[in-house]
């Protein structure tokens, strides 16, 4: 049970409790309502009973009236027939009314049927019955009606009504008034009948009249009951039941008065009857009086019955309305309770935002430091507040962690920095010395101790900053008054420090949190500065021999001193080398060089100087070589010119031979042209012959076709012959048939017919053979025609070929003509060639004089270059100046005649060539030294 409740959510628990409470209330209400509803139904049923009883009343009364009037009629009073009939009609009406009423209350129905049938039975028989029987039967019916009234009261619960007032009311209505009315009715009928007899011959006796006595006793008895009802009603509800009580009182009064009247008639009538003094109107009067009393009873009865009905109706309606009101109230209360339960649950759910278990889990997780616990957003109440709290805590944690990391970074940075730092608190107590500062102080501790003997870097932490100062108060004032970084130099013995102090302030309150002092050890720096000063000053004066004392220094300053020494050393060396090289260059020596081991700018200078010197030497060497090669070239050109002249000569003679050969070619070509013309004529003849052959073949083919046509005609004729043979055969056969029919007389004829048939068959066979032969010859003719046609085709081909040959020969003739013209052109070209050869000779002369001046220039260049000593080959240019100058002198005389012939005609080229050859021969000397050059391939291309 507990676990079941635990599984439910809070709002569900609330709803469950509310629902349980509600259902109990509803169950109780339903029980109450059903009780009330039963009451209402009971009263409703009682209303039915009362109404039916009220409807029975006129039945009973009319029955009684009918009974009385019938009795009167039977007794001889004919006046009463109309009244009896009227009573019967009223009775019928009352019965119909009862039937209608019964339909409204089916549970109490059934009596109408019974009483109606009984009444019909009685009314059918009434005329035939004697007075007593009629009376008895009427009374019986009325008794049944009365009994039924009481049954109705029983069935409808009228007799069991719990309310006192209504109980006594119904008692009168159901029992008192009906009984009284009936008893009065019986009395009225009996007594008035007896009284009537007093006026007949029969008469009436006192004994007979005494029959009314028990009836009267009964009436009195009922009166007592009514009286008792009235008294009870008076106690229960005097005002409500006032008409009832009054009615009872009236009934009792009148009843008693009637009883008294009856009593006196009982005593007086027999006597009067005998005496004859009786009033004849007495029975009628009595009847009327009794009827009045009965009317009073009926009126009271009616009033009471309607009062009962009305009151019952009112109370039933009230009860029903009360039931409806109760149901409505229950429903409203149920809805109200449900709404309140839902509101409470909803309020709880919204205030909590989640189930208490879940809230507890989350709260415990946050308490345990688990800030990543899964909390869904979008909820309300405590749950949402928890989520916000968790988020805030998480943000705070993240900020703290970041701050811690940042502080740690800074601490690491300060620890590892090379800047030496010391931090003091606001009371100037040293709280932090970073490793760099510790190194500085340890290095200089000996120097510091010379001033502050107590100083020990190892115990510095926690001491007051005053240990460094002779006048701490000044120091303190100075520091606490700082607004920005304060820098100062501090000399402790031989040690020199530069201190930079600053205040650490709180970011928010601006209070002093402590001081930070940066220590710089400047002892070595000061020493080094002086050395460098000395060195640089000497270097500025051009003295590179000064050096720094590197051995006495350490760290940066030692490196600095060594490097400066190296620098001065290198500059010294390089300047010395450059000086030596320039001195050598001035004396014309191009071989001097700088050492190439220098680096950087010095290396570049050395390389540049070396390159300059080297390139200068190279240029000088190249110039010398060029001069040499120029000289050799000039010499070669001179030699070449001579060769050129000789060749030009050879060319001339070759041209001559070419001219004669061309002439022979011309005559050959002309012969060829003649032959070609003849061949052309012959081919034309051959073509004509072939064409003639073609015509013949055509004729042949035509002839063969005619033969073929003739053969066809022959074949037709033979067909006719064949037909004739067939017909003849038929005739012969017919003849044979006739002969056979003729018997012996036809025998001779049969022989003839047989012969004729044989002949016909033979002619048919011959015709067939001829036909075969003709067909054969037709085939052959056809073959001949094809052959002829083929040879015609071949001849046509021959004609075409011959024509082509003829055309080709014509082409050859034309080509030969063109060749003749071409050869003429060749002749002209040869003449031009001759002219060009002359011009070549003139050009050779010009080149010779140019080469001479080139040789002279080369010699002058050689003289100029003799100054330099390039370190390579010595200048050989001027070694053979005489040989070069001698060669052109010889050449001057040789080419001259060639130039003079340039303007001459091509026809005289042979003469000029021979002149060239003649002039070349007298100068054999220059040819001898250049014999080997003559074989060189270069000159062949010239």
């Amino acid at each position: 049970m507990k676990s079941f409740l635990g599984r439910l959510k809070v709002w569900q628990q609330v709803l469950l409790v509310a629902g349980l409470a509600l259902s109990i209330g509803v169950l109780l209400a339903i029980a109450q309502i059903s009780q009330l509803k039963a009451d209402a139904e009971r009263q409703r049923k009682a209303v039915g009973g009362a109404e039916l009883i009220a409807a029975l009343q006129p039945v009973q009364l009319n029955m009684a009236v009918h009974r009385g009037n019938t009795a009167l009629v039977k007794a001889g009073n004919t006046q009463s027939i109309a009244a009896a009939n009227a009573a019967a009609d009223s009775l019928e009406t009352a019965l119909a009314d009862l039937g209608k009423k019964e339909q409204a209350y089916p549970k109490l129905a059934g009596f109408h049927e019974r009483i109606s049938s009984a009444w019909r039975d009685l009314s059918g028989r009434v005329n035939s019955l004697d007075s007593a029987t009629s009376f008895r039967e009427h009374t019986q019916l009325i008794t049944e009606i009365r009994v039924h009234m009481m049954e109705l009261a029983q069935e409808s619960g009228l007799s069991r009504l719990p309310e006192d007032d209504l109980f006594y009311l119904q008692a009168g209505v159901v029992r008192g008034f009906p009984a009284t009315a009936e008893n009065l009715g019986v009395l009225r009928g009996r007594f008035s009948g007896l009284a009537q007899r007093a006026f007949t011959e029969q008469g009436v006796t006192a004994e007979e009249l005494a029959v009314a006595t028990p009836l009267m006793s009964e009436i009195r008895e009922v009166n007592v009951q009514l009286k008792s009802f009235s008294e009870h009603a008076q106690d229960a509800a005097p005002s409500l039941l006032a008409p009832y009580i009054q009615g009872i009182t009236r009934v009792i009064e009148q009843t008693q008065s009637l009883i008294r009247q009856t009593g006196s008639i009982q005593q007086s009538l027999p006597m009067q009857s005998v005496q004859g003094t009786a009033d004849p109107q007495l029975p009628r009067q009595y009847f009327s009086d009794a009827s009045d009393v009965i009317k009073t009873v009926v009126a009271a009865w009616n009033d009471s019955a309607s009062l009962l009905t009305t009151e019952l109706e009112r109370r039933a309606s009230q009860a029903e309305q009360f039931v409806m009101a109760v149901i409505a109230g229950v429903v409203i209360i149920t809805l109200l309770v449900a709404w309140i339960g839902y509101s409470v649950a909803d309020l709880l759910r919204r205030n909590l935002g989640a189930e208490p278990d879940e809230l507890e889990t989350v709260a415990r997780a946050i308490q345990g430091g688990n800030l990543d616990v899964n909390i869904e957003s979008g909820s309300t109440g405590v749950y949402e507040t928890l989520r916000e709290m968790r988020d805030q805590l998480r943000d705070n944690n993240q900020r703290l962690e970041e701050q811690l990391r940042s502080n740690s970074r800074i601490r690491q940075a300060v620890d590892n920095t090379s800047t030496s730092l010391m931090i003091a608190d606001e009371n100037f107590n040293i709280i932090y010395v970073n490793p760099a500062n510790m190194r500085v102080l340890t290095n200089q501790q000996d120097a510091i101790r010379s001033r502050l003997p107590e100083f020990d870097p190892a115990t510095l932490l926690g001491k007051n900053i005053d240990v460094f100062h002779k006048q701490p108060s000044h120091q303190r004032k100075l520091l606490s008054g700082l607004s920005e970084a304060y820098s100062t130099d501090l000399a402790l013995g031989d040690a020199r420090f530069n201190l930079t102090a600053n205040i650490i302030r709180d970011e928010d309150s601006n209070d002093i949190l402590g001081y930070v002092v940066e220590w710089k050890d400047q002892t070595a720096e000061v020493n080094a500065r002086e050395d460098i000063d000395r060195l640089v000053r000497a270097a500025n004066a051009g003295d590179f021999s000064t050096r720094m004392d590197a051995a006495s220094k350490e760290g940066f300053y030692r490196t600095l001193a060594e490097n400066l020494n190296d620098l001065v050393e290198i500059v010294d060396t390089v300047t010395d080398e450059i000086r030596d090289a320039m001195q050598a260059l001035a004396s014309g020596d191009l071989s001097a060089r700088l050492a190439v081991t220098h680096k950087g700018k010095f290396g570049e200078i050395a390389d540049a100087v070396n390159d300059g010197l080297g390139k200068m030497a190279g240029v000088v060497n190249e110039v010398v070589e060029a001069a040499e090669s120029t000289r050799a070239s000039s010499h070669e050109i001179s030699t070449g010119n001579r060769q050129l002249s000789e060749r030009t000569e050879k060319q001339s003679s070759n041209l001559e031979e070419t001219a004669s050969a061309v002439e022979e070619l011309t005559s050959n070509v002309r012969n060829t042209a003649d032959n070609a013309r003849q061949a052309d004529q012959l081919s034309a003849q051959a073509r004509d012959s072939a064409m003639a052959g073609g015509e013949v073949v055509k004729d042949t083919v035509n002839a063969i076709e005619e033969i073929s046509q003739s053969s066809d005609q022959i074949a037709e004729i033979i067909g006719v012959i064949d037909d004739i043979a067939f017909q003849t055969n038929l005739l012969a056969l017919n003849a044979s048939v006739e002969a056979a029919r003729a018997g012996d007389q036809g025998r001779g004829f049969a022989v003839v017919a047989t012969e004729v048939r044989n002949l016909a068959q033979r002619s048919a066979n011959s015709a067939r053979e001829i036909k075969d032969l003709i067909e054969d010859s037709l085939k052959r003719v056809k073959t001949g025609a094809e052959l002829a046609s083929k040879s015609g085709t071949n001849l046509q081909a021959i004609i075409g070929d011959v024509k082509k040959v003829s055309d080709l020969i014509s082409d050859i003739a034309a080509a030969t003509e063109e060749q003749s013209g071409g050869i003429e052109e060749v002749n002209r070209a040869i003449a031009e060639l001759d002219e060009i050869t002359q011009q070549n000779a003139a050009l050779a002369e010009e080149i010779a004089s140019a080469s001479e001046s080139a040789v002279e220039n080369t010699e002058m260049m050689g003289d100029a270059l003799a100054f330099f000593n390039g370190g390579g080959r010595t200048m050989g240019v001027s070694a053979r100046p005489s040989a070069l100058s001698a060669a052109p002198a010889h050449r001057d005389s040789a080419p001259a005649p060639v130039i003079s012939d340039i303007g001459g005609k091509s026809a005289s080229s042979a003469v000029s060539k021979s002149a060239t050859r003649a002039s070349a021969k007298p100068s054999p000397r220059p040819a001898a030294p250049d014999a080997d050059l003559d074989d060189s391939d270069d000159w062949e291309e010239f």
Binding site: F726, N729, L730, L733, N734, V737, A740, R741, A750, R757
Partner: protein, 167 residues
């Protein structure tokens, strides 16, 4: 009986046994013979007038000198394959006595006529009973002549079939 009598008998018998003449014709390569005295005339094929609702083998009618003569195709009559008619196709007219004692003429189309032969009746042999060849349908007998087999056609049967149907 003496030999002389025998000789005489033989000589006497010879005229009795004198050979009869037969007209022979060819159908689908086979040779058939009919007695020549039954032949009335031999004619070349000429166009016929077709008759509606006739038998397959009935070619039609022709007019010969005023007489209407029915023509039948013996090939079709013997249920042999049909052959186109040429100008050498021959029609043989047979005459015989009709039921009313009236001479009737019927033309029979054959491939070609071959000959008029003679042989004695004693040379005629019964047609082979077992043969179901179509050419033997109306065979009255078989004759061997000049080493050829000739079917002796019962022309009456061949034509009478037609007559009975016509009646």
């Amino acid at each position: 009986m003496s030999e002389v009598e025998d000789e005489e008998n033989l000589e006497q018998a010879a005229p009795e046994e004198e050979a009869r003449e037969y007209l022979t014709f060819r159908l689908e390569g086979e040779e058939y013979a009919v007695p020549i005295e039954k032949v009335k005339e031999i004619r070349a094929w000429e166009a016929v007038t077709r008759v509606p609702h006739s038998e397959r083998w009935e070619c039609g009618l022709i007019n010969i000198r005023g007489a209407i003569v029915p023509i039948i195709d013996m090939r079709l009559r013997l249920s042999l394959p049909a052959k186109a008619y040429t100008k050498h196709t021959v029609v043989v007219l047979f005459s015989f006595m009709g039921p009313q004692g009236k001479e009737k003429t019927v033309g029979v189309v054959v491939d070609e006529l071959s000959d008029v032969v003679r042989f004695q009746d004693t040379h005629i042999q019964q047609p082979p009973q077992l043969s179901r060849r179509r050419s033997m349908r109306f065979a009255a007998g078989v004759v061997e002549h000049d080493s050829r087999m000739i079917v002796l056609l019962d022309i009456n049967a061949a034509i009478a079939q037609d007559e009975s149907r016509a009646a």
